[in-house]
């Protein structure tokens, strides 16, 4: 068996004139920062970049809503009830996406609704992530009976269909946006706890942890500074996916009348108000759902991209 002989002429490290190896050949092999490397892999997926673009646009709309919305979301134009979108026959240029049953501009309400949906996602993921990491770290690090107890509690929460449990929690706490966020956080939290625990179990017997422990690091330092940063990749992916489920669940609760209460322009609540116009005014029903779908879809695209980027098994395959 013969090895293929390298062709010196095509190798950039070989000086074609003398045939000797150049020491300063090509760009120096500096380690790429992980952020740059991950960004490189992330942008290889067209879907992920598209998702990120749509999501950034949503964030911009949410932040700028009070300035760019053409109307006040709460103002009822009594002379413009159920006006169809501007491009249809009876539409009016002033109301691009039409108005609802009490004459409020749908586009403005959707723009303000983006603030609520993104806020819901942010708050829910923050609470669920923080509490899930804490609980999972303790379970994985301490082990033994504490671990068994914590994980059984997580199993119990996961035994209930999440929407049902969130509904029942809201029934206890009382309907409203804040309580809905709390309930959804609690329902999503076990996923983070389980992931963190699994990652901690895999990491805690590694040599670098032992080394830090021998060097005198206390339990808190070991947990938070030594182990946790090495468990973050799956948590980031889960956080992204939870962001979209939080928005979906909150909209579902709003739709069932247990989430944000009217006249808050939350997308799910808007859909609930629009239900009775299903046969007469399609735009009242179509628009808010489209916003939910676009937001959730863009976040899931980002999540898929992040998973492919951060999961070393799938990387470069």
């Amino acid at each position: 068996m013969t090895l293929p002989t390298p062709d010196p002429a095509s190798d950039p490290a070989v000086d074609p004139a003398s045939g000797t190896i150049k020491l300063d050949a090509g760009p120096a092999m500096q380690p790429v920062s992980p952020l740059v490397e991950n960004w490189h892999y992330f942008t290889r997926s067209r879907g992920a970049v598209l998702g990120l673009g749509v999501f950034m646009a949503m964030v911009a709309i949410a932040v700028l809503a009070p300035w760019i919305a053409p109307h006040d979301p709460a103002v009822q134009y009594r002379d413009a009830l159920l006006v169809p979108p501007a491009w249809t026959e009876n539409g009016r240029a002033a109301f691009l996406l039409g108005t609802d049953a009490v004459g409020r501009d749908i586009l403005s309400r959707m723009m303000h609704g983006a603030r609520f949906s993104l806020l819901i996602g942010l708050v829910v993921v923050t609470i669920a992530l923080a509490s899930g990491i804490l609980v999972g770290l303790i379970a994985g690090y301490v082990g033994g009976k504490t671990d068994a107890l914590i994980m059984r509690v997580m199993d119990i929460i996961l035994a209930f269909p999440s929407l049902l449990l969130a509904l029942v929690l809201v029934a206890i706490l009382g309907p409203g946006l804040f309580n809905a966020m709390l309930a959804i956080s609690l329902v999503l939290q076990p996923h983070f706890a389980r992931l963190t625990r699994g990652a901690v179990l895999a990491e805690k017997n590694r040599e670098y942890v032992t080394a830090a422990s021998v060097a005198g690091a206390g339990h808190l330092r070991l947990m938070l500074v030594t182990i946790l940063p090495n468990c973050l990749a799956p948590l980031i992916v889960q956080a992204t996916l939870s962001f979209s489920s939080a928005i979906l669940d909150a909209a579902a609760l709003g739709f069932l009348g247990m989430g944000a209460q009217p006249p808050i322009p939350e997308w799910g609540t808007m859909l609930a108000e629009a239900r009775e116009f299903i046969s007469s005014a399609w735009w009242v029903v179509t628009m808010p759902g489209l916003a939910i779908l676009a937001t959730v879809l863009s976040i899931n695209l980002i999540g898929d991209g992040l998973r492919d980027t951060l999961d070393p098994k799938l990387k470069r395959s």
Partner: protein, 335 residues
């Protein structure tokens, strides 16, 4: 296998106890006095209040109340509906077939379409078929199904007039309830048009409820197939000269379906959550709508009983799937 089964059974005991605890705590965490809550607007005299407190055992210590509660559960008493005075279990049983029929149709639709789409996407990896299937799956996975239901109603019911908007059967159809499954009962009745009516009522809710499981199953099947297709034994099968359909249909599919079975099992919880929304929108008289109605009527004993029964059901299905998984995958049970 016996040891595996027993260990799984033992593992769900604490979970089950936890579920009863949550259901028990739920009623006691509601703000306000339990008896006043039940009495509602009418109010109640102090004597009657004390009497009712004693009758429901609210005056006893907490642990004693819990023990009594478990005792009642073991006797099959899940409480009584405050609005209908019926036992919760009776009400549950009356509505369960409606949900089961819908959920079964949805999971069959999701499995058949999802597995086929996943296989197709994996075999044609990178082609436009793969991209189109997976894009559709991602949209399905991100779908707010309550909105999806409204869209389908706008298109198929109000615009085209093909399907009815709500209920399980046309109001003009009367026939005896035998199994509780409308499709079977309507066939048994022999009435002309009964089966057709039942089927028409079932189509939209089934599509809506199947959407998310369908997307999840398609994605899972694709990635499981891709993993299996890269295995060495696949190369062996191909190099033996087996036809591509045999290689994929027999060798790849069998191994790829193992994780898919688990995924399908996990969808039961998703289906129950989806049933709440689907049944509410289509006025489907199942347990999802029953729970929503009970929550808004503040019929908390029903909510408590329903919560417990639904969680127990999800748990039993997951256990069954777990055991099935051990049966088809020896590596799991010998761990």
């Amino acid at each position: 296998m016996l040891r595996f089964t027993l260990s799984r059974l033992l593992l769900i005991v604490p979970t089950f106890i936890g579920i009863t605890l949550i259901a028990f705590v739920f009623i006691r965490m509601l703000p306000g006095d339990p008896v006043l809550l039940m009495a509602g607007e009418r109010g109640v005299s102090p004597e009657r209040h004390a009497e009712l407190m004693a009758q429901f055992g609210f005056d006893k210590p907490m642990w004693r109340q819990y023990v009594d509660y478990i005792g009642q559960l073991l006797q099959g008493n899940f409480g009584f509906s405050f609005s209908t005075k019926q036992p919760v279990l009776t009400e549950f049983m009356a509505r369960f077939p409606a949900t089961l029929e819908l959920a079964l149709c949805a999971i069959v639709l999701a499995t058949v379409l999802g597995v086929s789409a996943g296989i197709l996407a994996a075999v044609k990896r990178g082609s436009w078929i793969d991209q189109a299937t997976m894009s559709a799956a991602l949209v399905g996975y991100s779908m707010p199904i309550f909105w999806w239901a409204l869209l389908l109603i706008i298109l198929f019911s109000t615009t085209l007039g093909w399907t009815p908007v709500s209920g399980r059967i046309s109001l003009t159809q009367f026939f005896p309830r035998v199994t509780g499954f409308m499709l079977i009962d309507s066939l048994l009745s022999g009435r002309p048009g009964a089966f057709r009516s039942a089927l028409h009522h079932l189509i939209l809710p089934t599509i809506v409820l199947a959407t998310i499981p369908l997307a999840v199953i398609a994605r899972q099947t694709r990635s499981a197939m891709l993993e299996v297709l890269g295995e060495v034994y696949m190369m062996t099968a191909r190099s033996k000269g087996l036809s591509p359909s045999r290689v994929i249909g027999l060798h790849a599919l069998r191994n790829a379906l193992i994780p898919v079975v688990t995924t399908i099992g996990l969808q039961v919880s998703v289906l129950m959550g989806g049933a709440i929304l689907t049944e509410t929108i289509f006025s489907w008289p199942g347990i999802g709508k029953w729970m929503i109605d009970s929550i808004s009527r503040r019929d908390y004993q029903v909510v408590q009983g329903g919560l417990l029964l639904i969680a127990a059901m999800v748990m039993v299905v997951n256990l069954t799937v777990d055991l099935l998984y051990g049966l088809v995958n020896p590596r799991v049970r010998h761990k």
